[in-house]
Symmetry: C2
Subunit: 332 residues, 2 copies
Amino acid sequence: MRRHDHQTTQADLTAGAVLAPYLQEQAAEFLRSLRLHRENSAPTDAGTHGAEEAAGALRRSSRRIGGTLHTFRAALDATWAEQLRTELAWLSGTLAREHAYATRLGRLLEALHALPGTSLPTARNGAGADSAADKERAALGVGAARAGALLERQLTLARTRAHSAALQALGSSRFHAVADAVALLASEVPLAPAAAAPAEEMLHGPADRAEQQLLTAVAALPSDRAVEPYNEAQDAPWHRTRLLLRLHRYAHEVVRGAPDPVLAEPGHALDLHRDASEAAAAAASAARTPRIAPATAYALGVLHADQRHEVEAARGVFRASWPYTAAAVTAP
Amino acid sequence: MRRHDHQTTQADLTAGAVLAPYLQEQAAEFLRSLRLHRENSAPTDAGTHGAEEAAGALRRSSRRIGGTLHTFRAALDATWAEQLRTELAWLSGTLAREHAYATRLGRLLEALHALPGTSLPTARNGAGADSAADKERAALGVGAARAGALLERQLTLARTRAHSAALQALGSSRFHAVADAVALLASEVPLAPAAAAPAEEMLHGPADRAEQQLLTAVAALPSDRAVEPYNEAQDAPWHRTRLLLRLHRYAHEVVRGAPDPVLAEPGHALDLHRDASEAAAAAASAARTPRIAPATAYALGVLHADQRHEVEAARGVFRASWPYTAAAVTAP
């Protein structure tokens, strides 16, 4: 929860007086999460629930600090801001990998369980059931079970590796330098002389630019008609839009004291879009495993297509929940 | 085109005077199509365009005569009506098979062509394209090409067999008996004594019952939430609804002189539902071909899932275009 209502008070404040408490709060949150993560981590096994939550909080504060350093760099010590931002991106990227593999596996196994023949036998629906359909269900069921085992093996291995890499990163001198920089930030923010100017003058321009970049990216998203559903390279503008929405959200938090509530649903849709896109790629990648049975490949194909349809569905939800009309978007 | 406006005149007419011209018109259409089919058919090769069109017209008039004999059987010679109806169902079913295989192959090949790597190389979208996605596209392309060849082989063979079976049927004594019965029908309709009663009394009740059966079937369709997308046995109530909509349409043509225009779009959605459902089953069946490559099986899995999504989309279109609310449906 934000303790200050920036919206009503910041007219009288300097840029530094708005920026510093936000960064200090996020830095304190970073240090709190780090402590929590250490208390919940054993070096040998994959993260416990407590460690996972702490890693999530660590990523969230890292992203907020990094985003703020980026958007409002004119009000900050430029060299320091750029360097810390790079290091925080490395850290949150490293921590995100383990989480991403776990999410991907969960999503794919859930989708596989929705395929026929993989769940507990259901009561026969007398009139509708026929033996050809049953045979099909059973065949897909066998493939789905094998595909599930294959994905579980591959993604669990990837997750374990990502977990080791994250633990190694958290024990590295590179990380200790980041943690030290954040600890310093919690007590004192290296402001630029320009931060003495009024907040409205120094912060609103960059925040508006962050919003404008988001609006421009959204306006440039290819129409669904122009897109081949299985061309995953065409997901890139959506992924970029997701990152720009995030930068806008953090800038909004700094300047207005809270995230923009109308962007919660579109933001969530872009998260689902990314998850489905990566899950589809994981299914396709598993299908390239040498010497798999055709039934396994078949189930992976079904899975791939299902996830690509979820990609398209997420785009639909994004467009439906996007609160601005095309007319509101003007060139910067 | 209907030559009479039944709606304004039939209050004064007997049931026979409404029923007989409709049946005679359909019988004449049947005989016309049959002549056209003979003129355009060579016994050796798969149907030419003219023969296909004639077969389609033959099926259409067969279905209309059969449906009318069924719905208004109380106004007709019961034994004759039941027997001719059975024979027409055999005939239109036999003729439909060739058309169905052709449609299914066309639908599946079109869906395969929409997969990446199967079309001509497109201009690279600089920023978005990446080599992992390209590799994926290429891999799916190889599988899609093989899957296309496999489906073409299997469905062309099935189509050729269905074509021979249709030609054989059209040359059989069983068919000649049907053609003779329809020729008799074109000149004289075997009415029951009850057909002397007013049309409103004898025909509106059966037509209303046909509509009521359709409404009841629609009301009983399982909600999409209750359905497992890959359980093809659950398509059955939709296929039944399609047949009931058809019977209602023909009854409406008899009683009102034209089909019910508000049911054109839901009817089309149910046709697409059936086509997609059968195409999905054909992809699944091709995937059970022994010794296929995993890449082929993978593409068939993608295809299967795509068609199942089309099944769901068709249900959505049906629900959105269905003109009656649930409240309009009452138990018969």
